[in-house]
């Protein structure tokens, strides 16, 4: 068989496989990400059936997948939403970072991955999957709940924080030590700040530049701009993903709505290739020793996420049941954690970090949405009602005495 035919056969089989997994995920009512990761594990290095010819396509496809994931994420948020969330929920965002990044960083140190590895693992445990969380809120009919804006602003702040976190991580991965990396970190942060300023202040101008009535022209302009800025960002060691995210933020208004429509199918395709690639390049044999740390980390950081949501909802004046709903909705980790792990391993960190991240994401992304259904049960509603009644009685007796 000649190579050209083999490439087509392999890629076709892979995409068809992703299609089957996505179908299964839809049937089960879960995100397709965990199934694609498992599929990748099965066929990759040390798996059942290693891939030979299609590897190059998958590798480049995965890179484009990360860029499209971040571009669409940026397009989803308008500058006013970002600034509004930042104003309203700064404190919640800060608490979120402290509670959820610290456990990951500690485990990173414990496993002997050094400060940069600790920072990478901290990022992996910090970021909630905005895609999974938003879909879950929608599926469970919670969009009109009073705690929902609290949940969404935390997710938005995390995503915005990534615009600073990823360049810092990238800069440190290049230098691999905290001291020598300081200058490159400062340069990276300065570049991000300038682009972010342009994106937030002059988004109308940027949007006008790429605007076209024709879907075709719009697709080429936005995709081209995103890839170009990503490439330039990567050249400046700012991380390609962040470049795409900032381009996404700069595009707003009707341009964003149209661009979202034309780019979503592309994103779905290449993001799946990225998750597949990540699964493929992770050796299942690395997974076994990482299982216990992954479970422990998942349990600990799902608990801290619940606490984060609980505290944020409490300060927004939400009742007991709503606080638990907010906390549980934040537990799934997903695309960002995988992006961070991918960056870290590509930057030369220990390969078992990828295995740990895979197991960790698999656990939280499956357990999170399942646990989130608990507050809708009757028993839970009775329990939270009793707690709230007790609390009110205590308050009343305290104020009367």
């Amino acid at each position: 068989m000649d190579d050209g035919a083999l490439v087509l056969i392999e890629i076709g089989a892979l995409i068809l496989g992703i299609g089957l997994l996505a179908r299964l995920a839809a049937r089960l009512g879960i995100s397709p990400i965990p199934l694609i990761l498992i599929g990748g594990l099965a066929f990759g290095k040390g798996g059942l059936l290693p891939i030979t010819q299609g590897a190059e396509f998958i590798e480049i496809g995965a890179e484009i997948g990360v860029i499209l994931l971040l571009l669409l994420l940026g397009i989803e948020y308008s500058p006013t939403e970002l600034i509004g969330s930042l104003r309203r929920s700064r404190m919640a965002g800060l608490i979120d970072m402290l509670l959820n990044a610290v456990p990951g960083a500690l485990v990173g140190f414990l496993l002997g991955w050094g400060p940069v590895g600790a920072m990478a693992l901290g990022g992996i445990t910090w970021v909630t999957s905005s895609g999974v969380a938003a879909k879950m809120l929608h599926d469970l009919g919670r969009l009109t709940n009073r705690e929902t804006p609290v949940v969404l602003s935390i997710v938005v702040i995390e995503d915005l924080a990534m615009a600073f976190y990823l360049p810092i991580l990238t800069a440190l991965l290049v230098r691999m030590d905290l001291g020598g990396g300081t200058l490159s970190v400062l340069i990276a942060l300065a570049v991000v700040s300038v682009i972010l300023y342009i994106a937030l202040r002059h988004s109308a101008t940027v949007s006008r530049l790429v605007w076209s009535r024709s879907a075709e022209v719009l697709l080429f302009s936005v995709l081209g701009l995103a890839l170009l800025v990503s490439g330039l960002a990567a050249q400046a060691h700012v991380s390609a993903a962040v470049g795409a995210f900032l381009v996404g933020i700069a595009i707003s208004g009707p341009v964003a709505a149209h661009a979202e429509r034309v780019l979503t199918p592309l994103r779905d395709l290449f993001a799946s290739v990225f998750f597949l690639f990540f699964g493929l390049s992770t050796d299942p044999r690395d997974l076994v020793p990482m299982l216990i740390p992954a479970v422990a980390l998942a349990l600990a950081t799902m608990a801290t996420k619940i606490l984060t949501g609980y505290l944020a909802a409490r300060s927004a004046g939400i009742g007991e049941a709503g606080r638990w709903r907010a906390g549980l909705a934040l537990t799934p980790r997903g695309e960002f954690s995988i992006v961070i792990a991918g960056l870290a391993v590509a930057g030369g960190l220990d390969r078992s970090l990828a295995a740990l991240a895979t197991a960790y994401v698999l656990i939280t992304i499956i357990a999170g949405p399942l646990l989130s259904r608990i507050p809708d049960t009757r028993r839970f509603a009775r329990w939270t009602k009793r707690i709230q009644a007790d609390r009110r009685a205590r308050l009343a007796s305290a104020s009367s005495s």
Partner: protein, 162 residues
């Protein structure tokens, strides 16, 4: 009396408008980015969550607004009387989870913080006109407030614990 509509951005999803009805329930309308709409009514037991949601197509939303439109115009005409040169009157319900339940009215510092006047407190057992700062607020009370639009919006946030 004009209803108070709260607007909340749902980043990446759309915009939500909440109307707190006189009967103490919350009616929410979500306008999705991609054009869909959803109606929801709050749960009586847990006011934070929705008891049920209802997706509306474009045509259904148009039909609903047409049916409601007639009564809306009447309400607006009646409301004109209350609006003297930028002054508005509003009824703010005390929710059970408000931080001011069981505390004296003076604790809200409504006048100094928002320049709004609380002209009466409406309770199940009647109306308390010109309340004093010592009068204790209770869940289910309604505050009748006069002030500017901005002042009223700010006071609603204060009362709701924002």
């Amino acid at each position: 009396m004009p209803a108070h509509v709260e607007r909340a951005e749902l980043p990446g999803i759309g915009v939500r408008h909440d109307i707190n009805t006189e009967a103490g329930r919350r009616l929410s309308i979500i306008n999705f980015r991609d054009g869909g709409r959803e109606l929801a009514i709050s749960d009586e037991d847990d006011p934070d969550r929705a008891e049920g949601t209802l997706a509306l197509t474009d045509d259904e939303a148009t039909a609903l607004s047409e049916v409601l439109g007639g009564s809306l115009i009447l309400t607006q005409m009646a409301g004109l009387r209350d609006q003297l040169a930028g002054l508005h009157m509003e009824q703010i319900p005390m929710r059970a989870d408000s931080p001011f339940v069981g505390r004296p009215l003076g604790d809200t510092k409504a006048r100094t913080r928002t320049r709004c006047s609380i002209v009466a407190i409406v309770r199940d057992d009647g109306v308390l006109p010109s309340p004093s700062p010592q009068d204790v607020l209770d869940a289910g009370d309604s505050l009748i407030v006069v002030g500017t639009r901005e002042g009223l919006d700010k006071l609603v946030r204060i009362i709701n614990g924002g």
